[in-house]
């Protein structure tokens, strides 16, 4: 096995394309999972079980089936019902949806962690329910959950290679394509491996710093 810097140089343009796609998928997937997770968490507090029950079943189902199966389902089955998206859009939606069923649990814990006294003070001041949520409960809950949400972003980053299975050319997809065309596996795979570390390790350090600042 010989290391060929030439192969690295040749691969780099493809690497940058793949990195861009990976970061797009990660950013959009995160936004979807953060927003949708909050929606799930709030719906699970609805007064009627006719809301809680379907949401509970749906999210349990999504959480307990593999992301890869969901990706295939959205990519190959939905078009049969004439619903078609680009591969990247499908991948982003799948990742966001899948992870929203985890972030909802993070939000739930954050909301339940706000002391009962905060609700009581809001009642004593006659704040409307909506205002109690937006001005009192959620700002405190979200502050608590930022570190946990950050951990899921890192998890999501490491799941983005699954998008390759539905033809998205993110980093692993680009590496595989290059490898198969040039019969050189070591260099592209090493490059993207290093890239994953260079993104996720500083990100986890950043998270720890954020955690120290926020959770006081």
């Amino acid at each position: 096995m010989n290391w060929d810097w030439g192969a690295v140089r040749d691969f780099m343009p493809h690497f940058w394309d793949g990195l861009l796609v990976t970061l797009q998928a990660l950013a959009l997937g995160s936004v979807i999972s953060f927003a949708l997770g909050l929606v799930w968490a709030l719906l699970m507090r609805a007064p009627t079980r006719w809301v809680r029950w379907p949401v509970g079943v749906l999210t349990e189902f999504i959480r307990n089936t593999p992301l890869l199966v969901q990706l295939f389902f959205l990519f190959y089955v939905l078009p049969e019902w004439n619903i078609t998206f680009s591969a990247l859009t499908t991948g982003v939606v799948a990742i966001g949806l899948h992870y929203s069923t985890y972030t909802m649990q993070v939000y739930r814990a954050g909301i339940e962690g706000v002391p009962a006294g905060q609700w009581e003070a809001a009642t004593a001041l006659n704040l409307p329910l909506r205002r109690t949520w937006t001005a009192v409960i959620l700002p405190q809950a979200i502050r608590r959950v930022v570190p946990a949400l950050g951990n899921y972003v890192i998890s999501m980053l490491k799941d983005t290679p699954m998008l390759m299975a539905i033809t998205v050319l993110e980093m692993l997809g680009e590496a595989r394509l290059y490898s198969q065309e040039h019969f050189q596996f070591t260099e592209p795979l090493t490059v993207i491996g290093v890239a994953f570390i260079l993104i996720s390790y500083p990100a986890s350090l950043l998270l720890r710093a954020l955690e120290r600042r926020l959770v006081r």
């Binding site: 004593a124 001041l125 006659n126």
Partner: protein
């Protein structure tokens, strides 16, 4: 906004000279009229009956202190009035309007007349001191930001924390937090102020500052006070009436002088000798 909503903002800091009777109540009620009324109120927690068919009256402008062993139902009365809990039976009326049972809209209206200060302060940690005080006047009473801020600064002045507007609650001592909480409750200009063991969570050296503020309010405003406390000297200073609770019943009531010096009931004697 209805006519009886406390929107009178004429009392700016400049109008209120020190020592002058400050108007912190919305509609100073006619003295002596009945303000709070419990009829046959029962509250149970599981098998435990905390209040058992309680009848209870407070006249407006009066300062009433509830004493008694823990678990005797004192705090429950305050929580029922603040609608933090619902009675299992009976009716609660405030200023002639039904608080329980009542539709949500009416509860919201009646609740405007009531303010509460908690044992654990319960300030909003995500808001600065000033915004803790202005939040409800702006969103509930519809005051403009400037009006609410003027009112808040006046109240902070009164509780001796004018310089803490921009601090977060976590940067204050327990005593300071509690004084902010008092200002926050008064900013809504309630007719009734409920005080639930407001010094129990404080370090001993911080208690005096909080009680001094409350004494000042008791002596300079028309506000009706319902107070659960173990500070008997304070109760004696401010109260018109002391009610001794035991097992969900009022077993004795009277002027503080009489209750503290010459209690009739054996349970009252035992209780007072245990805590004095």
């Amino acid at each position: 906004m209805s006519a009886d909503t406390p929107l009178d903002t004429s009392a700016t800091p400049a109008d209120t000279a020190p020592g002058e009777k400050a108007d912190h109540t919305a509609n100073p009620p006619v003295d002596g009229g009945e303000l709070i009324r419990f009829d046959k109120v029962t509250k149970r927690f599981g098998d435990n009956t905390v209040l058992d068919g309680l009848d209870f009256r407070v006249d407006s402008g009066k300062h009433v202190t509830l004493i008694g062993p823990s678990g005797s139902g004192k705090t429950t009365i305050l929580r029922l009035l603040m609608t933090l809990a619902k009675p299992d039976e009976g009716t609660i009326t405030v200023a002639g309007e039904r608080l329980h049972p009542a539709p949500e809209k009416q509860i919201r209206e009646v609740r405007k007349k009531i303010g509460m200060v908690f044992q654990q302060f319960n300030l909003f940690p995500n808001m600065k001191v000033l915004r803790n005080i202005t939040e409800a006047p702006v969103t509930v009473l519809g005051l403009s930001g400037d009006e609410a801020e003027a009112r808040a600064r006046e109240l902070l002045e009164m509780v001796g924390l004018a310089d803490k507007c921009d601090a977060y609650p976590s940067q204050l001592s327990g005593g300071q937090q509690q004084r902010v909480a008092i200002a926050r409750a008064l900013a809504m200009r309630p007719q009734v102020l409920l005080l639930d063991e407001v010094t129990s969570a404080l370090d001993p050296e911080l208690v005096t500052g909080v009680l001094d503020v409350l004494r000042d309010i008791a002596h300079t405003t028309d506000i009706t006070m319902l107070c659960v406390t173990h500070e008997m000297n304070f109760a004696r200073d401010i109260s018109d009436q002391v009610l001794m609770f035991d097992s969900g019943h009022v077993i004795e009531s009277g002027s503080p002088d009489r209750i503290f010096t010459d209690p009739e009931h054996e349970r009252t004697r035992e209780f007072l000798s245990a805590i004095l």
